[in-house]
Amino acid sequence: MSRGGWRRRTRRRPYRDSLVGLALLLPCLVVVLLFFAYPLIGVFVRSVSDPAPGISNYVEIFSSRAFRNILRLTVEVSLLTTVGCLVLGFPVAWYITTLEKRRAQLFLVLSTAPLWVAILARLYAWTVILGRRGLINDSLAAMGLVQEPLDLLFNTRAILIGMIHVMLPFMILVLYSSMSGVDESLVESADSLGARPRQTFVRIYLPLISPGLIAGSLLVLIMSMGFFILPAVLGGGGDITIPIYVQTQIRLFKWGIASAMSMILLIVTLALFALLTKVFDPKSVVVGGSRR
């Protein structure tokens, strides 16, 4: 009923309401246009004009074998990071929803505490842990389990560990917020209708939190695709992802190639985004009936 009243009011003054909407959007719009759209267009223009007009940059990139490896590595690491965060974050987020409010808040703060520490500090901490003379190798050697120190650092696995570590808090936050919105009576209802826990989980719980699963995965995936500093530090220069490659090209003043590569990264990211949202259509799912 109240909703009907609201609709009626918006219908009465559509012009004025849309003006108000525009005014509210304006600051954000300016920022986006100025600092996002404008540079993006600049990058695109550069990618087809530097050093010479045409698509030579793209041709060069796509004809190189190295590029294909870089692209594959970038996508692979990002996808694996996403999966890793889902697998590790899910139980944590779920556990927090079972706690009473005060403790849940504490656990949320704790699980996101890494976000307060500067990223470089955290990455160098990992080099200390994973290095040839690092914590793990020293411990293993001291226990006599290995003769030669293991190569834990400066490889894809190290990148993956670091990525998951950095991204996990975001995943937990997003998952928690969607899990805590699940109406407990729906789960009880399934229970009273005879469903076993596994059936309730698959048929009721998962669909209800799927918007959170999708949002968390997309967030982690997109952030991972563009992550420069982490692969650079933990990969030790051996594993080149697209952002690292772009940075190298810029250092060589090859602005055209760097721009083209950036455009490709953008397109691949958007393509993955589209694919994921398509596969798990969030519109087919409702949380607590709140979506119309």
Binding site: D191, S192, L193, V287
Partner: protein, 377 residues
């Protein structure tokens, strides 16, 4: 949606014989709060029993304990002769209707109602037939492909009812299922639910805090307060012969007048204001004697208003306010001792003028006599 009497011609779900529910010595607390205290109750097979009580009296908690959603601290729940106290809800096979409907928002009406059947591994042909019949039963044919959010509150409520009935439970538990609906729809669904229950024969435990709803639907009513049974009985008894002040007051409006027991020539009588005397019901005379105080309750609709005194008991009053309620007038009056007195009279009779002096009469046999706890008038 049609608001006519629901159809029950279609003999839809299989008639089942309801199970007997025995609740024995159930005690439950949340933290320090004792919510149910030594609760005993037996619900007969096929009976429609209503738990009636104010907010916080433990109705939901008791229903959840019967349904297996809460495990009681002490006591046992025996259904159909089987001790189910520790059995999880999914193994009890009871239909549970939640106050907020609890429909699965991501499933269509059809899928919601089919859910308990799919869980039970029933063939899809059979499921389609059963779901169709269940939807017919609650008058929702043709809405199977809608999502819950595309339905009105009353329709959602009926879907949740259909879902709780579709698997032929012998016990159906309903927690204020009509709480958030408007009056007309409530009455319509009250009738639907009651007719369905009579037709199918399941045992129903129904929770409400609306006494009219409880009266309209139930075979018996349990009035609860503070986690204990205050009175258990058929609606008429609970209304006409409440055993304590709380019940008398909770199940309907009541005018209260103090009385004192007096020894007269032939036994005890009750003396009330203005020299009126009332007969003493047997349960009072057994426990009290000369000089003891009682509380006399008179329901507003028991009173007849007259301009002249005729017979007794009678009280003189001044009419303060007359309000029209369709089929009745409610007349707010003030007795000579300053107390308020509410009268409800049929609107087919003329209402007295505000400010006029009138006489209130009632049948003394119908007076509700309550023994007040010590120290209270």
């Amino acid at each position: 949606m049609s608001e006519s009497t629901p159809s029950t011609e279609s003999r839809s779900l299989q008639p089942s014989t309801g199970a007997r529910i025995e609740i024995r010595g159930v005690r439950h607390s949340f933290g320090d709060v004792l919510v149910l205290d030594e609760f005993d109750l037996t619900v007969e097979p096929g009976e429609f029993l209503t738990l009636l009580g104010p907010s916080g009296s433990g109705k939901t908690t008791l229903l959840r304990i019967v349904g297996g959603l809460t495990i009681p601290d002490e006591g046992s729940v025996i259904v159909g002769g089987v001790d189910m106290t520790l059995l999880p809800a999914r193994e009890r096979g009871m239909g549970f209707v939640f106050q907020n409907y609890a429909l699965f928002p991501h499933m269509t009406v059809q899928d919601n109602v089919a859910f308990p059947l799919q869980i039970r591994g029933i063939s899809s042909d059979q499921i389609d037939r059963d779901v169709e019949r269940a939807l017919e039963l609650v008058n929702l044919q043709g809405l199977g492909s809608r999502l819950p959010r595309e339905l009105s509150g009353g329709q959602q409520q009926r879907v949740s009812l259909a879902r709780a009935l579709v698997f032929n439970p012998t016990v159906v538990l309903m927690d204020e299922p009509l709480g958030s609906l408007d009056k007309r729809l409530r009455q319509y669904l009250q009738n639907s639910i009651r007719l369905l229950q009579k037709e199918i024969g399941f045992t129903a435990v129904y929770v409400t805090h609306d006494q009219e709803e409880a009266f309209a639907m139930s075979d018996r009513i349990v009035v609860m307060h503070g986690g204990t049974v205050r009175q258990l009985g058929v609606p008429e008894t609970v209304y006409r012969s409440p055993t304590e002040h709380f019940v008398a007051d909770f199940v309907g409006d009541i005018n209260e007048i103090e009385g004192v027991l007096r020894e007269s020539g032939h036994g005890l009588i009750i003396e009330i204001a203005e020299g009126n005397t009332l007969v003493v019901p047997p349960y009072v005379s057994r426990s009290l004697g000369e000089g003891d105080r009682v509380l006399c309750g008179i329901r507003p609709e028991m009173v007849v208003i007259q301009e002249e005194p005729m017979g007794s008991p009678r009280l003189q009053a001044t009419v303060e306010l007359v309000s029209f309620h369709g089929n009745s007038y409610r007349i707010l009056s003030r007795l000579r001792d300053g107390r308020r007195f509410i009268v409800e009279s049929s609107s087919s009779l003329a209402a007295p003028a505000e400010g006029s002096t009138v006489w209130l009469h009632w049948d003394e046999e119908q007076t509700i006599v309550l023994i007040p706890p010590d120290g209270q008038p």
